[in-house]
Amino acid sequence: MSFTLRGRLESRLAAGLVPLFAAAGLAAAITEWWPLALAAAMLGVGLVFDVAYDRWLEYQPGWLAPPLALLELGAVMGVVYGAGISAPLTVALAFFGGSWLLGQVLVHGVFPYTRLSYGEEGGELGRIGPALAAVVLATLGVLGGVALAMQPPTVRLAAGIHQGPLVLDHAQKLVGEPGAVVRGGILITADNVTVRNVTVVGGESGIEVDDAHNVTLERVRVSGAELDGIHVRRATVHIRDCLVHSPASEYAQGIDISFGFDLAPSDVEGCTVVGGREGIVTHFTMARVADNRVVGTSLRGLTLTEMSMAVVEGNHVEDSLGVGIYCGDYSECEIDDNRVRGVRADEASGDKTRMGFGIVAHHGAEATISGNEVSGVASRARSFLGARISAG
């Protein structure tokens, strides 16, 4: 089709109406702003690209739509990451794909069907076009304004050492400048707190989250804590791209998320945990643990226990003592596409469930496993005490 610039913009905005309202609905349902931010990023990128397309494409054949969509997807994801929009990758991809597909159906089917001269007018929608565009832009403006007004304040943490413990007891974004270090830990007790780009040294726990919802920890580095690196109790957290290093205590865990089963799921993604008894552990919690790297633990690499419900996927567990990935005590675990290497038998413990197993289901737990690469172990997967492992 040969679009006019106005036709491109009107078609783009009209096709964006449903995704925008869907995003607004989703945002309301989960009480987070990222769906709207994602929709706005998609529309914004699309409109900017439309101006470029108008310059370069006198005619846009149908077959060009998929490559252009990939180009736009790359730009949208760049904006998502660059702007720190905390949209889960799979949801973002699905949202983009669904919106694009809907747009294709509208532009190639619905608009030409409902408007006789849609094609010959270069995608323009007549009088309704500016009205639809105004609705979309006004919706974006209003919702964006509300979102901005409701955003917690951003606190910049300057480079240098700040003596802790810092107590974050109201909603805020704590963003560290390069070189910002908190000595003595951070305690979070408020909802809607984000901590980003901060290094934490020492403290009882490096970062403790207590009875708080929608807490995001991004690109935090934790080391030298007396107990856990990140310690979460009755809270919902989103932990991404963190580094937790060598908890000092022999009873310390890298990341411990516990007792939030009745809360929204937490997730830990893209983190590296070195040392500790358990690298990442959940008790009585719903969680997704994905794409993390856990090395050198002395009890287990990943532990999902005490009736947790967890998805464990794409993680790399290496050099654990006893067990690589553990699903225990009536938990339900989906364990897919992980790589477990070099689990040493814990002969000293005398515990027959700890003799160098890649994946263990224990005490009534149910684990579904598929696509895992397990090597350097005594046994790839074992179940004990009424637990069950099935292939996914």
């Binding site: 040969s2 005619y59 089917g109 030409p112 069907y113 006789l116």
Partner: protein
């Protein structure tokens, strides 16, 4: 019955039929539309010509049909009928060209359900006169809105070949002699090269210039407002030059066209010359006469009403209406090749739709309705 405030379509061919289907889509009943033509079958003329050149596929694409909506097009219809997505995939790749049979069958279905035959009047209109409340056709019936789609004004034969017994126009029924000269370099000529070669003839292509290769008659953006915007805003002399330049013969690129010719060339059965050299049969694929003066009805209308013209084209508004004879109470639109001043590819199905939609918009907003 008073016919004031109703619509007339002068010309019962494809462009007239497209206008009829568009008016019906716009809410007009068959009783509100009168179609004047010489053959009740809107495809008759086109079918004869396509049959004469043994055309099997349309140059147009999925949306090259007579229905008022461009979607769903013939590719969707073919995919549904064949239960095969191949036509959709080809359409996605701009490679789908419906067969002539598919196009004709679709048109026949539209005709049956549109009420066309109820509106059809077997009459050749020879005179259009503007009257205060519309247009009087042949001194009797008066219509507020008239859509003129009289088609191409006759077949064109080069002056030097007129009266030669060996000469036949490509659009007239014919066979192929063992040696045949084919004059022209457009779509019809290219089709005739392949036909004659397939019939075992030796082909001599008579042409003064190398044909242009284009998928459609014009670059695609000239089918939409994107290209039309600059066309409509250009000065008359530039617009006429544009139309002259793009009326040069062309046919689509592709192996289906090239390979038989190349093979025949290697076998010594295809030659190119610049003028006829005495073959036993000369087929003129030289298109149609051009200019409103070749159409008696249009020539009379221009003369009677003093309509502005430019180098053989009647000057039209961008929506294909005649400005001097169109106002809030009445509409006179031109379609087909006569509508090129508004839409360069006016002699295509897309052109017919363009004029028909413009006509419908005018009629729907007319105060006399």
């Amino acid at each position: 019955m008073s016919e004031t405030n109703s619509c007339a379509i002068v010309g019962g061919g494809l462009a007239g039929f497209v206008a009829y289907a568009t008016l019906r889509h716009g809410g007009f009943s068959p009783a509100e539309i009168a179609v004047f033509g010489t053959d009740p079958d809107p495809t008759a003329q086109w079918r004869r010509r396509a049959g004469a050149i043994r055309q099997r596929r349309m140059r147009s694409e999925s949306d090259g049909h007579c229905a008022p909506r461009s979607f769903p097009g013939l590719a969707v219809r073919a995919a549904r009928r064949r239960r095969n997505p191949a036509p959709l995939v080809l359409s996605f790749l701009d490679r789908y060209h419906p067969t002539v049979e598919e196009f004709l069958a679709h048109t026949e279905e539209l005709r049956a359900r549109s009420g066309w035959d109820e509106s059809f009047r077997p009459q050749r209109v020879t005179r259009i006169r503007a009257v205060p409340d519309g247009f009087e056709l042949d001194g009797s019936s008066v219509f507020a809105h008239v859509f003129v789609a009289t088609g191409h004004p006759g077949l064109n034969l080069p002056a030097e070949l007129r009266g030669d017994d060996r000469v036949i126009h490509a659009y007239e029924p014919h066979h192929y002699a063992p040696e045949v000269e084919i004059v022209g370099a457009g779509m019809a000529a290219a089709t005739e090269w392949l036909n004659a070669l397939a019939a075992g003839s030796t082909v001599i292509s008579v042409r003064r210039r190398e044909p242009e290769r284009r998928p459609l008659n014009l670059p695609r953006h000239f089918f939409t407002r994107r290209g039309l915007g600059s066309f409509h805003s250009s000065a008359p002399a530039d617009r006429a030059e544009f139309l002259r330049r793009w009326s040069a013969p062309s046919y689509p690129p592709g192996r289906a066209w090239d390979e038989p010719v190349e093979r025949a060339r290697r076998e010594g059965r295809f030659h190119v010359v610049s003028s006829p050299n005495g073959a036993g049969q000369i087929i003129c694929a030289t298109g149609f006469n051009r200019g409103y003066r070749e159409d008696a009805l249009l020539a009379d209308c221009v003369e009677e009403h003093g309509l502005p013209t430019h180098r053989g084209w009647i000057v039209l508004a961008p929506d294909s209406t005649v400005p001097a004879l169109t106002d809030p109470m009445r509409t006179l639109s031109l379609a087909g090749v006569a509508g090129q001043w508004a839409f360069p590819a006016a002699d295509t199905l897309m052109g017919a739709k363009y004029a028909a939609r413009g006509f419908l918009r005018r009629v729907l907003t007319c105060r006399s309705r």
